[in-house]
């Protein structure tokens, strides 16, 4: 981009959800270990409930009793 300054890394926030950061990313954890991902973007867990911390695994979602007639089922993962 000849007329633009060097691109900034974009970070997107969402209330109650992860922080999405453009990858690749290194996350330095409290104990000094480094988690690394080379995905084009990563979702960093902010709720601390993720079982794959520091990466979001959607555990931030509110748990809710579904209407009796409907249990959303996973739809096959693209």
């Amino acid at each position: 981009m000849p007329n633009e300054p060097a691109a900034s890394r974009r970070v997107s926030l969402e209330r109650g959800g992860p922080v999405v950061v453009e990858g690749p990313v290194e996350v330095v954890l409290e104990d000094g270990t480094v988690a690394r991902s080379d995905r084009f973007a990563v979702a960093l867990c902010t709720c601390r409930r993720s079982r794959t911390y520091p990466w979001c695994d959607t555990s931030h979602r509110r748990r809710e009793r579904a209407p009796a007639d409907h249990t959303p089922e996973e739809a096959g993962r693209p």
Partner: protein, 344 residues
């Protein structure tokens, strides 16, 4: 984790037998190179959710992906086959619209139930497999899902030329990840072939078509229908968002199921990868792809909601079919002559 990845680019798959008048006419047309010959009344009689119509549609759609051994690649654009496909699609789409006449028409309402984690998972296939699944059920699940996963993310790529701006950039970013981010060994379809090899299943494309019942074929036909029609680009985006949003929690349970049953490292890795990847894909698809599309073409909102609702409907039906069969100790695969179900 890095078992030698089986090739997924084997020769074109073999044709299967028809399951009724219409699908038999399609098989015959493909075998002989002649136009399909069928009683027009058979088309009107065929149940839109039945084996005959769903298989006929699936065979016609496959001409756009890998085709079939012994069938000229040019048949993809054979006007007689396309005319028949159009007639079948009309019946399929109409049946969907009838069954979804009370479904939400706003994106907010369509997605809201997917963005909470249900407390009651009694109807969830992944929960069943996680807690009570047996190896033969995992094998059946993988054999059936292979009809999509061996071409994972392919149907969705057709939407790209129909998008612009944020929606296009977001869609391509996610698809790039699905296709291994430049590394062939990381293509998700390839990872799925690794899962199948761990489960000792035939990994070749189309190998399990004959055993897949209509309730499974409908979930795959839905993607091809939405992907191939520019007029349905909103529905394709709604479908894709629905899959990405619902994938992570289900993938976590399926990874646990693979681990508990000792399926093997590649089998576990396929789902573990999707826990993390789809948590990201969800964010990008909701914000950029759905958000970008609706900023460009707000009139497509009911279509996006329709694509999401259609996906939930067909996945729920598939889930009910699988759980009913398995809870009765039966195979969920279609019985074919002289073949023992993977489960027995």
């Amino acid at each position: 984790m890095n078992a030698p990845a089986p090739a997924t680019t084997a020769p074109a798959p073999a044709l299967v037998e028809g399951r009724g008048d219409v699908s038999a006419a399609v098989v015959d047309a493909l075998r002989t190179g002649r136009p399909p010959v069928h009683d027009p009344a058979a088309l009107l009689r065929a149940d839109p959710w039945g084996e005959d119509l769903q298989l006929a549609l699936h065979l016609l759609y496959e001409l756009h992906y890998r085709g079939f051994a012994g069938v000229d690649d040019d048949r993809e654009w054979d006007p007689d086959l396309l005319r028949l496909r159009r007639a079948l699609e009309t019946r399929f789409l109409h049946a969907l619209r009838v069954d979804l006449r009370h479904a939400p028409r706003s994106v907010e309402e369509a997605f809201a139930p997917l963005l909470v984690e249900p407390v009651d998972l009694s109807g969830s296939v992944s929960r069943h497999l996680e807690t009570d699944g047996e190896l033969w059920q995992l094998r059946e699940y993988a054999a059936l899902r292979s009809l999509y996963h061996l071409k994972e993310a392919d149907p969705h790529l057709w939407v790209v030329p129909r998008l612009t701006g944020r929606a296009k950039a977001g869609m391509v970013a996610v698809e790039y990840d699905e296709f291994g981010a430049g590394r062939a060994e990381r293509i998700h379809a390839r990872l799925f072939a690794g899962l199948m090899a761990d489960l000792d299943l035939d990994t070749s494309y189309g190998a399990h078509l004959d055993r897949a019942p209509a309730v499974l074929l409908a979930t795959v036909n839905l993607m091809s229908l939405f992907g191939l029609h520019r007029a349905l680009r909103g529905a394709l985006v709604g479908h894709f968002a629905c899959v990405e949003i619902t994938s992570s929690p289900g993938s976590r349970r399926l990874a646990a199921a693979m681990r508990r049953c000792g399926a093997g490292p590649a089998a576990e890795h396929f789902y573990a990868e999707h826990v993390e990847a789809d948590a990201v894909h969800e964010q990008v698809v909701r914000r950029e792809v759905v958000g970008g599309l609706l900023a460009d073409e707000p009139e497509l909102e009911p279509d996006v909601a329709f694509g999401c609702a259609a996906t939930v409907l067909l996945e729920d039906r598939l889930g009910a079919h699988l759980l009913t069969a398995w809870r009765e100790g039966r195979s969920a695969l279609r019985a074919t002559d002289g073949v023992t179900p993977a489960g027995s």
